[in-house]
Amino acid sequence: MIDQIKDFASWFFVTGDPLIYGADVAIVLTMAAIVIVLTYFKKWGWLWREWLTTVDHKRVGIMYIIASLLMLFRGGVDALMMRTQLAFPDMKFLSPEHYNEVFTTHGVIMILFMAMPLMFGLFNIAVPLQIGARDVAFPFLNSLSFWLFFFGAMLFNMSFVIGGSANAGWLSYPPLSELTGSPGVGEDFYIWGVQISGIGSLMTGINFIVTIVKMRAPGMTWSKVPMFTWSVLSSCIAIIVAFPVLTVTLALLFLDRFLGAHFFTMDGGGNAMMYVNLIWMWGHPEVYIVVLPAFGIFSEIVATFSKKRLFGYGSMVFAMISISLMAYFTWLHHFFTMGSGADVNLFFAITTMIIAIPTGVKIFNWLFTMYRGRITITTPMLWTIGFIPCFVIGGMTGVMLSVAPADFQFHNSYFLIAHFHQVLIGGVAFGYFAGLSYWWPKMFGFKLNETIGKWAFWTWNIGFYVCFMPQYVVGLDGMTRRVSSYGWDTGWWALNFISTIGGFLMGLGFLFQVWQIAHSIKFMEKDTTGDPWGARTLEWSIPSPAPMYNFAMTPIVTDRDDWWEEKERIAAGKAPKAKPELEPIHMPKNSPLPFIQSICWFIVGFGLVFHWLWIAIPGFIGVAATMLAHSFNYDTDYYIPVDEIKRMEAEARGGV
């Protein structure tokens, strides 16, 4: 009996690696610390009422951001482990098998559990406020989306201490990801972690499309919509087209593994290329999904800190929408070398190159906005300026990659790794960092420390070039991706070593960011204006942090950059716009169902990973029960009376 338990435990828990034991201890200690702190300060009720059951988009946004920063830490540790191994190829810091798990985990976490939630966090913080809405269209669904993401991410993260992680790369190509290639549970963790959170992403896409299309303040015609909101709309259009394909792809892979179906297997008539086509039909748009909102953020920031209207509004909108649509006709550039034939390759090479055009247009628009502007260099502006050269180089190497014949050389080399990190870090990560520091005062009512922020920016930026420029060279020298070691005769060592130094510099940059946040919380200066940057769009017209109902009275929009124009009118001695009367405000009630339902999904996923139906089936029943409970619940909203609004407004404006 004891032996059986031992056997089970050594199979169930990942064993044998000191790094993993370290992680086990860290996890147990962290959990214990959280439980003790919450109990000691009697904060369980607060946590439940104010956060776990909230449907307020601003709080949901904050939870997204916290979760994504934790994931950035985890993905970053993975990155540094890989870089350490590559700097000392003889040291055997990571075994090849462990290395495979680490790069797979790193890729999945960075894209799906870091970039996506950080992006959704910013959607939630900014979009309803920018368009003068009281909330998103479906607050309940919004909270459900968050919790699905959260528990999907937890399921995936568990795999490295329980069962073992996926190791077939972040897109899990078969036959490697089939039972024949990966007999363990790692791939199943991947499938269910990504599937559960992916459904959350899809619902967010729907939610924000409806919000933006239907809930703009009166007077906000399409030509007056702020640029970030436009970028969110284009990103969400891409989401609703791409994510159903991901759902199907993962489901089919699961059927192969669970029921022995033959979609992508080598035998039984399966076709592994079909998987590659399907996954990139999601995967390519996915990179535009994460980068488009960054473009929106840069547009807001450039205009605000140049004290000028954004140059080329129309062309910017056109560029973003066309990128989100064109993204669907480029997927094949990820496998030029897989023998689709010259005509097919040619078509996808050209479509890929065409996307460079709208992207170029945008860069010029930002530059023209800055031209002759009164520029102030704040941290958000620094991230924006740092992004431009980075993205230009990344874009050019991207066009090099899109030349189908040349791709036979670059394919799967470090050249590619350098390219996509250049656009993902320089475009996406820098963009969201910019957005985070820009909207931080709106979220919390105080600014982040500028000095430490600048240190963070410079270490990230320099670290970036030190890390990835050598990789272009070593890639052209023939170093392929996903190798955990190489020989001294290759001559790759020096470049790899430099690259690792750069990686650690970025790690230092992350520490600066953590310090920046901690320091600012301690020594913050409260922002009483609600508009600390002298910004242009509606979210800055209300107090910070925004009251729970956002706008006491629905704003009436007459101009693009409405808040800026209003300030100009007042400064010129004209009368401000008349405000409508206060009316009782209609609010959604909190609900525990999204949280509970997501836990049930987690249970379903966990049961299916281990093929334990006795766990999965109760989970399913829980999901069904919470859905029914929601359908039968008619008591979902309430009104805030006018007196109460008056009181809350006075308090918010009074700054206490």
Binding site: K214, V245, T554, K577
Partner: protein
Amino acid sequence: MAQTHNRSQALAHAGGHEGHHDLEELRKFGFWIFLITDCILFSALFATYLVLHENTAGGPGAKELFEMPGVIAETFILLTSSFTSGLAVLAMNAGNRKGLIFWLIVTVLLGACFIGMEVTEFSKLVSEGHTIYSSAFLSGFFTLVGTHGLHVSLGICWITALIIQLTRRGITPVTRRKVHITSLYWHFLDAVWIFVFTFVYLMGVM
């Protein structure tokens, strides 16, 4: 000044009024977008089926396996249920709660018949040894048709829950929206079935 004031008031009334009415509109619009995503989901499944449908791995293909009379009967049943769900909406618009509930029950029963026949078809295939793991063709077939069946089953549960709500609460703006949405969903599943019928069964046996 007075003019701007009037204009703002008018605008505020045109768009700014919140409350149940707008909420129901939002939900309908959101549901349409959900249907688009569901369309894409089915397109991916159809594409996979069409790519794999000749990969029978030496086993029997569509021609040998499909029995059209049953499928044609299923099709008629589902089409009829779409019609009865339309009658339900008409009854609701006429304010006739009894009629509404009656037609919804008929719709659910027809849906259940459809699912029953599908289950029979599947279990017959399986008992003859043609399962999801026999070949890529059958994997694609069971998954595509099964996903449609799963959607129909969900619809049945959903409409049943709605019938209970209607008996308790009658026709309110909320239940009215729910009826509209479920009937939209039901018609959508009908449309998807037409494609299944054409691309899987008809083209399979021809």
